[in-house]
Symmetry: C2
Subunit: 295 residues, 2 copies
C-alpha cells in the first residue's frame, strides 16, 4: 500500500509487516500518466524493478521501478487516512482503518510479539495452556458485573407458574453469563497437569468510562500446584521481564514510534508534570532492576 508519493517520483510502499517503508523510485517519463495519477495514498500497487543501494539518505536500499501495476485505487478525496498527523479521537471514528496508521500498526505488532512471548515463556517453563469456559454460570470471586448470555426471546421470555423468567428453557437449562475469570477451572487444571495458564477473553459489564476500563479484554492466569508465595513472586517477576525483554529485542523500531509520540505529548505538559523517563528507558529500567517485594 502506498503511504506517500512525492514529486511524481518516490513511492513510500508498506505492506504492514514492519513500520519501515520501501522507497520505490519511479521513472515518471517512462510511466503512463494515467498510472501515475492512480498512485495515491492508500492505493494497492505492485512494483517490479531492481533492488539497489539507495542514492538518497533515509534508507539503505531502494527499488528502481521498471513497472507499476495498480491493484486497488484510493480516492484522495474520500480516503480519510492522508499522510499527516491524525488525533487519536479522529482515528476512533475510523476504527476499521486505524490499524494502518504508524501508531496503531506499531501497537498491534508489539501486541503480537508480547502475546507470542507469553506463550513462549509458559511453554518453556513447563506450563500447559488451558482454555477455560467463556460462557459460565459461576461468578469467580465476584470480580465484577456480568453480561448475561441467553437464547431466550428478549421480548417475551418463557415464565414459570409464579411468573418469573424460566431459565430452565434457556440454552443451557439455567441462567448463564460471560466469564469474569477462568480461575476456578484453571485451579482444576493445575491439580491435574501441575502448571497451567489461561490466556483468553474475559468480560466486565461495568459502565465506567475510564481510560483503564474495558468491557472485553484478554487476561492471563497462571495456576500452579505446590507453589509457595515466594515461587509465585519469582514467576511474576520472571514473566514480566521475559515479555518486556522480548518486545525490546524484537520491536525496537515500533517502540521508537510510540516513544516519540509520547515525548511529543510530554512536551505539551508543564515541566513538573512530565514523566521522568521515556518509554524505552522505562522498559529497560523494569528489565534491569530486581522487583521490590513487600513482606
Amino acid at each position: 500500500w502506498v503511504r506517500t508519493f512525492r514529486s511524481n517520483r518516490f513511492i513510500a510502499l508498506n505492506d504492514g509487516s514492519t513500520g519501515s517503508n520501501v522507497q520505490c523510485v519511479v521513472d515518471f517519463e517512462r510511466t503512463p500518466e494515467d498510472v501515475l495519477k492512480r498512485i495515491t495514498t492508500g492505493a494497492a500497487v505492485e512494483v517490479r524493478g531492481l533492488l539497489v543501494a539507495s542514492q538518497g539518505s533515509g534508507q539503505a536500499v531502494e527499488i528502481q521501478v521498471q513497472e507499476v501495476v495498480v491493484h486497488g485505487d484510493s480516492s484522495p478525496e474520500e480516503y480519510p487516512l492522508q499522510p499527516k498527523r491524525h488525533s487519536l479521537e479522529f482515528l476512533r471514528e475510523i476504527a476499521h482503518l486505524r490499524p494502518r496508521t504508524a501508531t496503531f500498526s506499531a501497537v498491534f505488532r508489539i501486541r503480537h510479539e508480547a502475546q507470542y512471548a507469553v506463550h513462549q515463556f509458559f511453554h518453556e517453563h513447563g506450563f500447559y495452556h488451558w482454555a477455560t469456559p467463556i460462557i459460565t454460570s459461576s461468578d469467580a470471586e465476584g470480580a465484577g458485573e456480568m453480561f448475561r448470555v441467553t437464547s431466550l426471546p428478549a421480548d417475551n421470555p418463557p415464565r414459570t407458574e409464579s411468573g418469573e423468567v424460566d431459565y430452565s428453557e434457556d440454552f443451557f437449562g439455567q441462567s448463564t453469563n460471560l466469564t469474569v475469570s477462568g480461575q476456578l477451572e484453571g485451579e482444576l487444571g493445575a491439580m491435574a497437569l501441575g502448571k497451567i495458564y489461561t490466556f483468553g477473553p474475559t468480560f466486565r459489564a461495568e459502565n465506567s468510562n475510564t481510560t483503564r476500563h474495558l468491557s472485553e479484554f484478554w487476561m492471563i492466569e497462571p495456576e500452579m500446584a505446590f507453589y509457595t508465595l515466594e515461587d509465585n513472586m519469582q514467576l511474576a517477576e520472571d514473566f514480566a521481564k521475559h515479555i518486556i525483554r522480548h518486545v525490546l529485542d524484537r520491536c525496537a523500531d515500533d517502540l521508537a514510534v510510540l516513544d516519540q509520540r509520547l515525548q511529543q505529548e510530554e512536551q505539551s505538559k508543564p515541566a513538573a508534570q512530565r514523566q521522568p523517563m521515556g518509554l524505552v528507558e522505562k522498559l529497560n529500567f523494569v528489565v534491569n532492576n530486581p522487583f521490590v517485594r513487600c513482606s
Copy 2:
C-alpha cells in the same frame, strides 16, 4: 499425586507434567503405619530419597524413598478416580477430575502442543495475532445461531413507546451477540498488517446434540492480503502438516495412550467396520503425503 500404591511398597507418583509416573520404593518397615495408610490414590505426597537405576522393569530410574510427607489426603471411599478403567460417560459426570486421568491428561497435553504449534507456525511465517471482538453486533456470514449478550433485566426489560424491547438502554446501546467468526475484523487486520491470524473462542447457539457440535469452541482464522487461491491452499497444507508433525515429535507417549484406547475400541467392532489405520499411523500418513487438490 499418587496414581497407585502397590504392596505397601511401590508408589506410582505423577505430577501431570507427563503421562509417565515415577516409581517410588518405600521401605515400609521404616515408614510409620499412619503415613502408609494415607498413601492412597489421589493423595498429594512429597517424597525425599535417592534417584537410582531401577531394579525392576518398566522404568529406567526409581526413587529409593527416605521420607514421605502427605500434603493432601484422598479418601479411598470418596475419591471417584480409582486406578481402573472408567467409561467416558462416567468421566463426564466428574468433569472437574477427568483431566487427571491418563486419557484426558494426554488429550490436554496434546492440545497444548498443538496450540503452541499454531502460534509458532504463524509467527514464523510473518503473521500477526489479531484479537477480534467476542461481543459484536455483526453476524459474519450468517454462520450460525447466535447467543444474545445483554445487561438488560430479563424479567422486565425497558420498552420503547411502541412496546418493543429498548436496546438503546442495553450496555452498548444496541442488541449484541457472541461472535460466530472474527473474519470481518480479520480482513481489516490483513489490510493493515498484511498477514494476520485469529485464535479465540467462537459460539453457536444451535441446539444440535451431535458428537461434532459445540456451542463454544476455539477457532483459527488466517487472513492474508494479496494471496492467490494457490497460496491459500499451500498455506493450509503447510499449516496442517506443521501442527501434526509438531505433535508427533513432542507427544509420542501421549499419542500412544490414545492410539491404544482407539485400538481397544476398534476391537469391539465387526472387522469390516474397523478403521484401516491406527491413530499415529494416520497422522504420519497425512504428514508424509501431498494433499490432493480439486481444481
